[in-house]
């Protein structure tokens, strides 16, 4: 783990001296953060509703949303780390594209699970969906 972190930190530092690499990293990094923040915002609302004994979510929805969020959080970190380690022009490995597919599916499921939620929850779910889609789009194009 320390070796991985050190290598990524080194890539980040070196990137500041190389405009193209730095721009790619900045873009991927920024959208990664936005995707995480939006999902975290949704999670805060959902957790508040659950612990506040609201009608939504029920136990099954809360459990499923937890599983999807846990998966999504892991996938965001994996995809971003993988994309940041690539050089400009280097194709995304299949492992990363597979993870991107899984992330997209997980967030789509979260939106579906929020269909019966109050409007403000749905709005936050849609926001998370948009931010994740932007993250995936930027990572795919890495620009």
């Amino acid at each position: 783990m320390k070796r991985l972190l050190a290598s990524l930190v080194a890539v980040a530092i070196l990137g500041t001296g190389c405009g193209g690499v730095a721009r790619i990293q900045t873009t991927v990094d920024a959208t990664d953060r936005s995707a995480y923040t939006a999902l975290r915002g949704f999670q805060n609302i959902e957790e508040s509703a659950w612990h506040g004994h609201a009608l939504w979510p029920n136990a099954a929805q809360h459990r499923q949303i937890g599983a999807k969020l846990s998966s999504a959080f892991d996938l965001i970190a994996k995809i971003a780390a993988g994309a940041l380690a690539l050089q400009p022009g280097e194709s995304l490995p299949k492992a990363i594209t597979d993870e991107m597919t899984l992330l997209g599916a997980a967030v789509a499921d979260i939106v579906s699970l929020s269909n019966t939620a109050p409007p403000e929850v749905g709005v936050q779910a849609q926001k998370a969906h948009r931010q994740v889609q932007r993250f995936l789009s930027v990572t795919k194009g890495r620009r």
């Binding site: 783990m1 990524l8 530092i13 999670q43 659950w50 970190a77």
Partner: protein, 87 residues
Amino acid sequence: MTPTTKAPTKALEINGQSIDIGQIINLIAQYGPVTIGAVTDVIAAIKKGLGVVDPTAAIADLTALVNDALTAKAEADLAATGLDPQD
């Protein structure tokens, strides 16, 4: 953020201040497995430091973000077990 200083010749020094990369790495490493954005947060913090932001503040921001990510992950995992009490 638009950097107002050029990239330093010594990557770890900005305006006489240094970013302790080892401190950042140790900070993250002690949390164990990579959690949400932990790695990319390290990079973001360094970028902030390479701009004009106080590196100490950047590390503090990083700590807060990592803690938040750990909380988020723990909450999600607990909910996924089906054993998350409502009270």
